[in-house]
Subunit: 316 residues, 4 copies
């Protein structure tokens, strides 16, 4: 496609691709509706080796460097410790134990975005007013609606390997043609109801160097704006990546911040997975030539959450 | 069995049931080792209806009432809101969005315990010194070791329904015979490597009444101490329940707080799942008579965590 | 006065008592402007015994019982402990130490309210738009503006002792006449620029019984609505109390929640101190008959804060 | 003095300077005992201009850069906002308001250290066992003991100005002679029971440049080890500075991390104030030539706290 990205292009895509009302006026899960029970059953049939790949990056990775939204790196603290036990301080309690707590931005590490995360013209997916999300919580489109829906067929599109590089350069925009060519080269078909995961290699570059400056909120390889049309045409359940935000940065326009997000979440209603750890899964797929698998990535049951931290499982 | 629970009984069980060294001196996942790749493949064959049951209780349920360990109810706060968007406060940023964060005890809602959670004689499972868990984190037996292992065959033992009650009374101790009789009545076999989930109905009582006093840390129905022998004999992968701590309370002795925990975590090395929400899964199992399913309950990838909040999936 | 409290009464008081513009269009501290340098000097002259009374309630008092606003009791956690030191876990770091952190609602214990805390008709004190306070912070009327202003003459009005009771009953409304009679009986004059602190005894009742149900957000003795006129007439710097919200509860009307707050903060611009611990100060004042003192209650320098936790000092 | 700093020198100073038992076996406030009631009264006499200087750095200053102890920058979040009010979301509650919370390391910004913060040979000040501080809290030497004691005579020693520089260089060690010469040049006497505050200018350098790398935990100008003798000889109440840790860094030895801390907190029992903001106070003192003032810096009443965030007031 040849799209000049702009507010007009966003409006055009919104009009062309909207799923509002498609699954009823009360729907809160958008494209996750594309998964049918039979899809889950057939996806289970992809489990042939009995190996699961965990796609959550370690929560002690210091990926937040202050570029966006006041997010912080997860704070993991202890309410009881083995040193307390060793010191005899737990003797009176009758049990030796450790206990801990986590304080983290929902979208601070590997996570799902839910459909109340991004709005356009003050509306959420399916037409809900954005004021339904305030400081007290979110009355609509929270992640809890998806708590039993993150199960189905997963497909990896290893764009970096397909292009013959360790990682795509920041600013590289992945086109519809790239997606199609990669799928074809891998011998895998994208189907309605799929969890499509694409790999840029950018995260692995950061893991290798230990340098996360810019990962969260800076420049990145990612999907071009035009891919919103591809996603609607394929009718996928979700789109996931190893980057902070799926979308190419710098963005293709200065008229909007994250223009692709303006369309895919509010209009199409796609649940998005970000910062997936793909190194070992990708190596295995390259090794056995099989790029499809059973996918299970349950969010925490967090009412009103704009997403959830997750540790997705790709099971082959 | 006829066990008088005491420190001596704990020592005896520790000696009799220990799995230290069974999977090597470096092992950090204990009985999760009982799951073989073939078990995962065959468990996937249990997916026949294509329906997933989410077993995580909503995180806004106020279950913590101050009885144990300084834990608090999850604090869910917003870093950006739809009201900010509505008010025009996000116009300069070029994107309308909401963002949030969660601060919660790891074991404050539905969760896994990991093998660094409870010690005996200042040792963790597999002989690690309890001082390896201090205020800075845990060097051994953290939940991250299990990040790809929480996949396999799940079995529900619906003890309450088997006994013909909505819920077992607080203080009711589930015996080995109860477990066997329930499995027999349900027509399901417990196998090596299973994720065994038992239902007492206690949580549903609280959900119905809205009264959580005592749920977290007070009296409860649960497993008798003798079941540590049953778990070892069956060689299960994990044991899970709808209660706060699996174990019957008041405990069967005053010589230890949670005597069953003293054995099952440090000696046997069993990963434990607590506060599972089982109402709909149990109803479905009663309906179709099938008490086995594909089970996938990935923990967050939290290095050193004494567990992880989860939303387990039982897929039939 | 004889006021039937209603929205109309709020409007009337707002019109009659507004301090908007009185100290310039850019003012952000309201009635704290009434304190002149000479007042601080003369207040210092009240230090005659060299004894300071700390008026902050201990932060581990569990006063929050869920009645208002999603506030929680302060969470005090440790990042390093003496047990870590004892266990030898700090040897490599070259220093034995403990370290901690606090997570608390700003208004969760003894605190100042700042002038961005309450609005009327979507305006803050001095006419600022309420949208200047969003999820990212507050651009106007934050507590940081008062960081050098909480110093001056303090006066205790011990209403409970004046009435001859240990504590006023919940629902008791303190009238202008009560305030005047108490001051007269104590032989103390209320002057422009004073920090006026009144005692109901309610907090001491809770401290004694250990029962805090209702303290934060339930019924309470407190100021009648009419006192907003008294405060303006006296031209005090601030008003403080030993209760959760200064104002009598149940409120005198159902047309507004906290009707007195609607006037005193947005219109008059009074900084308010709440949950002051007054037992020992009150006993001392009763003992020596001196109800005035040097008062110093610096807020934390928290930009945009709707207030600050404090430990006010009354120095005699 | 000519001290070769080493573990031996620490032991020698500990033996020579210890205040254990000086104020009784139950004492928990150390050198704050040096302040007598008459000192508070005479200090109040220093209030002559009626101007207070707030010495707390803004809590939104991003001073933590990860060098020490897992501390984070204060997290200030909102539980209710003006945008919620504007959007009409608070109409049902009957009051328009904002509310917020703070999550911060106790020692993450301007603060007091208390006497349970640093140990030597597993002992706290006055001989208390370090195990009295565990993950649940601190039974001894917590900051709450000082809640009415942070009042008295303050003296500024403006070392940087005395040396004729904007700021001392990192690594510059302030000697006893420097302290004496500065006091003499300023015409101020250091007395028993004083709150002594010294200025290096380092913080102002960071404020000016906006670069905080190294401020918290890196190199710094500061007191030489020998000053522990000076502090004991002068018998001051507390020592405060505009740096992260008062002490010169790199330290004068590699045998200990913060060797001066090993002596001053556990042996002498000095409460320490760190990261004080001194720019305006210092300018005023230079202007009027008066380096003494009434000092009031109440800590939060945090039972067991290893310190407290503060906004100290120097009142002239």
């Amino acid at each position: 496609m040849d799209i000049k990205v702009s507010k007009q292009a966003i409006d055009d895509a919104t009009d062309a691709l909207s799923n509002w009302g498609r699954w009823g006026d009360d729907d809160q899960i958008g494209t996750l509706n594309t998964i049918e029970a039979a899809d889950v059953v057939s996806a289970a049939g992809l489990v042939k080796k009995g190996r699961s790949f965990g796609l959550g990056i370690p929560l002690d990775t210091k990926i937040q460097t202050g570029l966006f939204g006041g997010r912080w790196n997860p704070i993991h603290i202890f309410l009881a410790t083995g040193t307390d036990a060793y010191s005899g301080n737990q003797d009176a309690g009758g049990i030796e134990y450790a206990d801990d707590a986590i304080n983290m931005p929902i979208q601070g590490s590997t996570h799902w975005d839910s459909l109340n995360h991004v709005y356009y013209n003050k509306k959420m997916y399916n037409g809900y007013d954005c004021r339904l999300v305030d400081s007290k919580g979110a009355a609509k489109n929270g992640i809890e609606n998806t708590r039993e829906k993150m199960v189905g067929r997963g497909v990896l599109l290893d764009i970096a390997r397909h292009k013959g590089v360790d990682y795509l350069e920041d600013g590289y925009g992945i086109s519809n043609d790239d997606l199609d060519a990669c799928a074809a080269a891998q011998g895998v078909e994208i189907r309605k109801g799929d969890f499509v995961i694409f790999r840029t290699g950018q995260q692995e570059k950061c893991l290798k160097s230990g340098d996360w400056a810019g990962y969260a909120g800076g420049d990145a390889p990612g999907l071009k704006f035009e891919t919103c049309y591809w996603l609607k045409e394929k009718d996928v359940a979700a789109i996931c990546a190893d980057t902070w935000g799926c979308e190419v940065r710098p963005n293709e326009t200065t008229e909007a911040n994250q223009p692709w997000h303006w369309v895919v979440i509010p209009a199409i209603g796609i649940t998005m997975g970000e910062m997936f750890y793909l190194k070992e899964l990708a190596a295995d797929c390259a090794d056995d030539g099989i790029y499809e698998f059973f996918f299970c990535a349950p969010p925490l049951n967090l009412p009103g959450g704009t997403g959830s931290p997750i540790n997705p499982q790709a099971i082959k």
